[in-house]
């Protein structure tokens, strides 16, 4: 089976991931910024890294939409659960 798409540069993705990890470490322990901003940035970096793995290593970027949906379906459910659980503590 021929690959229909151009293969991404895996080494480049690897470099990205390594750099982002280093950035996370620096952010978490070196940067003197407010806790909430730090939290937000760290989560953003984590999601970015996760997306890189999902899109390129798991080649979701090159799949058809109906397979992507399979991967996406659980995410809103998980989010609903976590938000509902957290809302117990804000009233």
């Amino acid at each position: 089976m021929e690959t229909a798409h151009k293969r991404p540069n895996y080494i480049l993705i690897w470099v990205y991931l390594a750099v982002l990890t280093a950035a996370e470490l620096a952010l978490a322990f070196e940067l003197p910024i407010s806790r909430n901003l730090k939290l937000l940035l760290l989560l953003f970096l984590a999601v970015w890294k996760a997306a890189l793995v999902g899109l390129f290593f798991m080649h979701l970027k090159f799949e058809r939409w109906n397979l992507r949906i399979m991967a996406i379906i659980p995410l809103p459910l998980a989010l609903i659960f976590i938000l509902a659980g957290m809302s117990e503590h804000v009233w």
């Binding site: 991931l17 978490a28 760290l42 989560l43 793995v53 399979m70 659980p74 659980g85 957290m86 503590h89």
Partner: protein, 225 residues
């Protein structure tokens, strides 16, 4: 297919059949399985988030109990094993089984090293007095709690969530290493993977990258926040 071993064209969707998702069964099955794995980790991670969000009092600051340096190295190791997995996949796509075997072996070694380091980390943590129920009395960490460096109220939850989340991740890594080793010895070494049929590599690769992806999330929310 009931019992005929169809070795050719394993990577094509079943035929004759109505059009499905245009991927072969094994790959589709793995994606479906990963969807359920997402929900499993959502339960564990969600529990952690909710417990921490609703905890009375502060949570232990990162870097006091856990050894960040060694875990950062471990994270790097897992990222490397993920890239070596994808290199193995690319190699067999190009019809180079020798290169594929090399990269697969690297992945297995990387995964095994990750598990080894995690076991070492656990032993170390337990010696310092960090256990699933919290902080062991009379230990090094108990003194930190007494001094107020660590919050007494939430250490129990910290231990519970830390060991459960990282433990189950480690369990998944172990399963991945075992199944990759199994494929390495039964399929890759005898040369059963070809340019046309490398479904096993792709499927186990999907699993492996997923485990890596979970670790990326866990590393951030457990070790850094």
């Amino acid at each position: 297919m009931t019992h005929a071993a169809a070795t050719v064209d394993q990577m094509l969707p079943p035929y004759p059949a109505e059009r499905g998702l245009d991927v072969y069964n094994k790959k589709l099955g793995m994606w479906v399985f990963l969807a359920s794995e997402v929900m499993f980790f959502a339960a564990l991670i969600g529990t952690y988030v909710i417990l921490r969000f609703g905890a009375t009092g502060e949570w232990a600051k990162p870097g006091i109990v856990l050894n960040i340096k060694i875990t950062a190295f471990n994270t790097f190791l897992l990222i490397c094993s993920s890239v070596s997995m994808v290199k193995a996949y690319a190699a067999i796509q190009d019809g180079d089984p020798k290169k594929m075997r090399f990269w697969l072996l690297m992945t297995i070694l990387g995964g095994a090293a990750f598990v080894g380091i995690q076991v070492y980390e656990y032993i170390h943590l337990v010696q310092h007095g960090f256990v699933p129920s919290g902080v062991r009395e009379g230990s090094e960490l108990a003194e930190l709690v007494a001094k107020g460096t660590l919050p007494a109220a939430t250490m129990g939850l910290y231990g519970s969530t830390f060991y459960t989340m990282t433990g189950f991740h480690g369990f998944h890594v172990t399963c991945g290493v075992i199944s990759m080793a199994y494929l390495y010895f039964t399929k890759a070494l005898p040369g059963k993977y070809t340019k046309q049929d490398y479904g096993g590599i792709e499927t186990v690769g999907l699993y492996w990258h997923f485990v890596d992806l979970v670790w990326i999330i866990l590393f951030t929310i457990v070790y850094l926040i």
